[in-house]
Amino acid sequence: MARVSVTVDGVRCDDDVEPRLLLVHYLRDRLGKVGTPIGCDTTNCGACTVLLDGVSVKSCSVLAVQADGSEITTIEGLAENGELHPVQRAFHDQHALQCGYCTPGMIMASVDLLRDNPRPSEGEIREGLEGNLCRCTGYQNIVRAVRQAADEMAPASAEVPAQASGGAA
């Protein structure tokens, strides 16, 4: 057993874990953070995406022990004070989900995409979400949602046309 100390959605957790325990299983089975689902076993689908110290990772490809000392944000910790994150709101507004199974990972990946590139073009959104698979939506409304969130989150540059500012970030 190895000792891990992580902060998950603002709560400090200290646990003894098997060294082989995947972060996603630690979150789901040990901490009850079942909002983060598992969609594959080969890191292809991205359903389990969380933020590790602010950067998106597929939590099925990180060992719990590798997360030691880190801060983890899951879909359950994204809303603040009962206020949905703009990306969550945009997914609802644009009907960017159907069954919703890929949604936690898709939202977390989108949050990281917008952190990296606040004004992405359509092509940059599609490329940025390439590692997250959705079987229901055909991605069109997901792209729309990320655009809406980008518009809301970067009001200062709202007058700049989206396609012109693609590489500006």
């Binding site: 953070k33 969609g39 359950e76 949905l84 009907h95 069954c99 079987r135 939506t137």
Partner: protein, 813 residues
């Protein structure tokens, strides 16, 4: 209440944001794998690495000694009680249905079949202990190629059956000999519908908790009600002792329309151990053992006059059943029997289908189920005929389709299409697409010898959905009816609970049903909640598949509302001291005709009925009502899909430049949900055309067991779609609605492949096997430059990515 109140709440037709989203975007979901129960044990299955073998011994004793393990079982342990997994659709009287034990006992017939299991304290311990199980196999020959499987002397999948032909189904209408004898043109083609993996994002999972002699089973299923009945029939556990719950379910596309071995075994293990158990598949396990879709060889012959008029269409199919017949396996290709004639008029039609047993994972329903295969066949043939006649492919279709003033129309396959307007949908689509300008550009690129060629693909489709009139299902030997149930509960405070037998897994029923009820009862959208997916709280249902929920389940909701209003009217008349006949109901209130200022709301009636102090004589104190709706006919959505592809003749790469579809799905309850369904349907149909294929190697191993090998499209692989609608109401239900869940998938595959072929037809290419991978396209172009290839010399280049082994001579010949 004032007289200015609107007639109704006008919810139907509004792009309401979904009620379901609140939990899905915040992670407050209830997927089956999320469920934790006191004392919950985890099950892991050991699966056959052999495609076909006799099991000579299974020894689980060492596994039982592993840490954390509480039990381990082999098939022999369940043999006396596990029964046989059901096939509910014996399509012919002499159909061969192999015995299908949930856990293999003596023989395995496909790679992935469960042969043993471990029950342990956690999922890691369970998986670890599988290594300690010893199984000895005596290999038998795999059966992989359908043409060979039905030939004399073929190795048999099930020796006791003496044949690999499960059934032979023939449906004929018209004089086929006459149709072909006098025909100016005969087109003869063989197409392959490759095997697909449905790949819902949520893997299958099941939890079973025993309490005394009663069992609660949670499953990632589309069919909690059907599953309950079937589990009772298979295991002998009385139906009233079983409760099945479909909690949040992450997509299905047909793959969760099944009674699975793992569901039966979880129930039997929980029964035996007296404690709750959970099983969740890994993705690679699921790709091997969750039923597959499609997999047909289509031999098609089409006879026509020189002016393009269709005379006869002869369809001969080999349909791969896989190793066993599961819930509706043999019925899937038969749904296509009614659809190969599509929107066209013709004199003669024959549908001849042989269901073939092979040593592969069984096939069963996958989005569209039989109808995409049929639509592909006929729409590809229409393009081939147009090329033969040197006629514009849309003009050919116009000359043959049923005109809008010919409805209702009795088709050559025996259905009655109630309504449709193919002209309107096509005109709209052609304008949005810019068909003529694209044809000009195509001509220019051809004449300039542009290495990147442009192709235009058409699919003018219809489909039959809203499964289904029970009498029709009965005539096709299906084991159940096609009705749906709904109940409306009027709560004392005027809020409403809608209980539905439909079982949503992404469709948005909570939202759409609320919109219907809001309009019918005049109750605010937010005052309505929808209960589904639990046989205890929604006890009666036929569940969700075949684009049936709105056209059958939604109409049941509609009808139940009307019954509530009937009852409430009686109470209102009593309270208002007015004759019932003088009351009218709109906007949620009863008024006496001619005195609009005096009204009683349905909420007031609900409270008065709850109190029951002063009700009409003989009236029971309840407004609650239920309705069971059995449709009189299928619904027939249709539409025109147009695809423009750019094909790089140097690399074989295909890029979709534009995709336009105009669908006619009748009246629309929620355009936002409809558009989403169309997008997702298109994605899956395009995926079949360009990306996806389940590949078995020559030993019968599935080589596409991961998402790195089985190529689900990502956001980078799909274009922005242009979607629009025409609205020709269905005449067979009071809402005028048709289904939409499968339309995009049914229509899009031939549109894309027709576009790919059209881009390179002038180079001598008239077919490319799906998926049209760069290698296949490149080979087709280069092979066509010199010689015509015989049909059995098929191009390699299967999908399957890393490590895939091409076995086209098996699966695709």
């Amino acid at each position: 209440m004032t007289a200015l109140e609107p007639e109704t709440t006008h919810e139907i037709g509004q792009a309401r944001r979904r009620k379901e989203d609140a939990r899905l975007i915040t992670g407050r979901t209830n997927w089956t794998d999320n469920i934790q129960l006191p004392g919950l044990m985890h099950v892991a299955f050991l699966r056959s690495p052999q495609a076909h073998a006799r099991i000579t011994s299974v020894d689980v004793s060492a596994a039982k000694e592993r840490p954390g393990v509480i039990a381990a079982f082999s098939g022999a342990d369940f043999a006396a009680e596990q029964g046989s997994l059901p096939c509910a659709w014996p399509v012919t009287e002499d159909i061969v249905i192999p015995d299908h034990p949930p856990m293999a006992v003596d023989e395995v017939c496909y790679v992935g079949e469960a042969v043993a299991c471990v029950v342990a304290r956690d999922r890691y311990s369970a998986a670890d202990a599988l290594d300690a199980i010893e199984v000895d196999y005596e290999p038998l020959p795999p059966v992989l190629n359908m043409e060979e499987a039905v030939a004399e002397g073929a190795a048999l999948v099930h020796a006791d059956k003496g044949t690999n032909t499960s059934f032979h189904f023939v449906m004929e209408n018209g004089d086929m000999d006459a149709a072909f004898a006098g025909a100016d043109v005969v087109i003869d083609r063989t197409f392959v519908q490759q095997r697909l993996i449905p790949a819902a994002m949520e893997p299958r999972a099941v939890v079973c908790a025993p309490v005394g002699d009663e069992y609660t089973l949670w499953s990632a299923t589309q069919i909690p009600h059907v599953l309950r009945v079937m589990l009772a029939m298979v295991t002998g556990i009385p139906e009233h002792k079983l409760r099945v719950i479909a909690p949040d379910v992450g997509g299905g596309f047909g793959s969760k329309l099944q009674v699975t071995a793992e569901e039966v075994l979880a129930l039997l293990i929980a029964k035996r151990l007296g404690r709750p158990v959970k099983w969740t598949e890994s993705r690679s396990e699921g790709f091997m053992t969750t039923h597959h879709g499609r997999d047909q060889i289509q031999h098609l012959r089409l006879a026509a006059d020189r002016d393009g008029r269709l005379r006869g269409f002869h369809v001969r199919l080999l349909a791969d059943m896989g190793a066993y017949l599961m819930l509706v396996t043999p019925g899937v290709p038969l749904l296509g029997a009614f659809m190969f004639n599509a929107i066209y008029k013709m004199d003669a039609y024959t549908f001849d289908c042989t269901g073939v047993l092979t040593t592969k994972m069984p096939t069963d329903a996958y989005r569209g189920a039989g109808r995409p295969e049929a639509t592909f066949g006929v729409e590809r043939m229409m393009d081939e005929l147009a090329a033969e006649l040197a006629m514009d492919p849309m003009e050919l279709r116009r000359r043959n389709w049923i005109a809008h003033d010919e409805f209702p129309y009795d088709t050559v396959s025996g259905l009655t299409y109630d309504s449709g307007d193919y002209e309107a949908a096509t005109d709209k689509a052609m304008a949005l697409f810019g068909y003529d300008a694209l044809r000009k550009e195509q001509e220019r690129r051809r004449s300039e010898g542009d290495p990147v060629q442009l192709g235009l693909g058409i699919s003018t489709f219809t489909e039959m959905c809203g499964l289904a009139p029970s009498r029709v299902l009965g005539s096709l030997a299906y084991g159940a009816g096609g009705w749906e149930n709904a109940q409306i509960r009027m709560l004392p405070t005027g809020k409403v609970e809608v209980v539905t037998g439909s079982s949503a897994h992404g469709q948005g029923h909570e939202t759409a049903w609320s919109q219907i009820v809001a309009d019918r009862l005049g109750i605010p959208f937010d005052d309505i909640s929808v209960i589904h997916g639990d046989t205890q709280s929604s006890p009666k249902g036929m569940d969700t598949y075949g684009s049936r929920s709105l056209t059958v389940g939604g109409i049941a909701v509609f009808n139940a509302c009307d019954k509530v209003v009937e009852k409430a009217k009686r109470v209102a008349a009593h309270l208002m001291e007015a004759p019932e006949a003088d009351l009218e109901f709109s906007g949620g209130a009863f008024r006496v005709r001619g005195t609009p200022e005096a009204s009683t709301t349905i909420q007031e009636v609900a409270l008065a009925t709850f109190a029951a102090h002063d009700l009409p004589d003989g009236m029971e104190p309840s407004l609650d009502s239920d309705a069971t709706f059995d449709p009189e006919n299928f619904s027939f959505p249709h539409g025109t899909h147009l695809c423009a592809t750019e094909v790089d003749t140097r690399t074989g790469e295909v890029k979709i430049r534009s995709y336009v579809c105009v669908d006619d799905i009748g009246k629309v309850v929620n355009p936002l949900i409809v558009e989403g369904q169309v997008h997702g349907g298109l994605a899956q149909g395009i995926a079949q055309a360009l990306y996806e294929e389940a590949v078995y190697d020559t030993d019968g191993n599935l080589t596409t067991t991961t998402m790195a090998d089985y190529l689900l499209p990502s956001a980078m692989d799909l274009p922005e779609f242009t979607t629009d609608r025409t609205e020709t109401p269905a005449t067979t239900n009071p809402l005028g609605v048709k289904g939409v869940g499968e339309a995009g998938t049914i229509a899009s595959t031939p549109a894309v492949v027709n576009a790919v072929i059209d881009a390179v037809r002038h180079l001598g290419v008239d077919d490319i096997h799906m998926p049209c991978t760069p290698e296949r396209v490149w080979r087709a172009v280069h092979d066509a430059e010199g010689r015509a290839r015989p049909p059995e010399d098929l191009p390699p280049g299967a999908a399957g990515g890393l490590g895939s082994v091409n076995t086209d001579e098996g699966a695709s010949s």
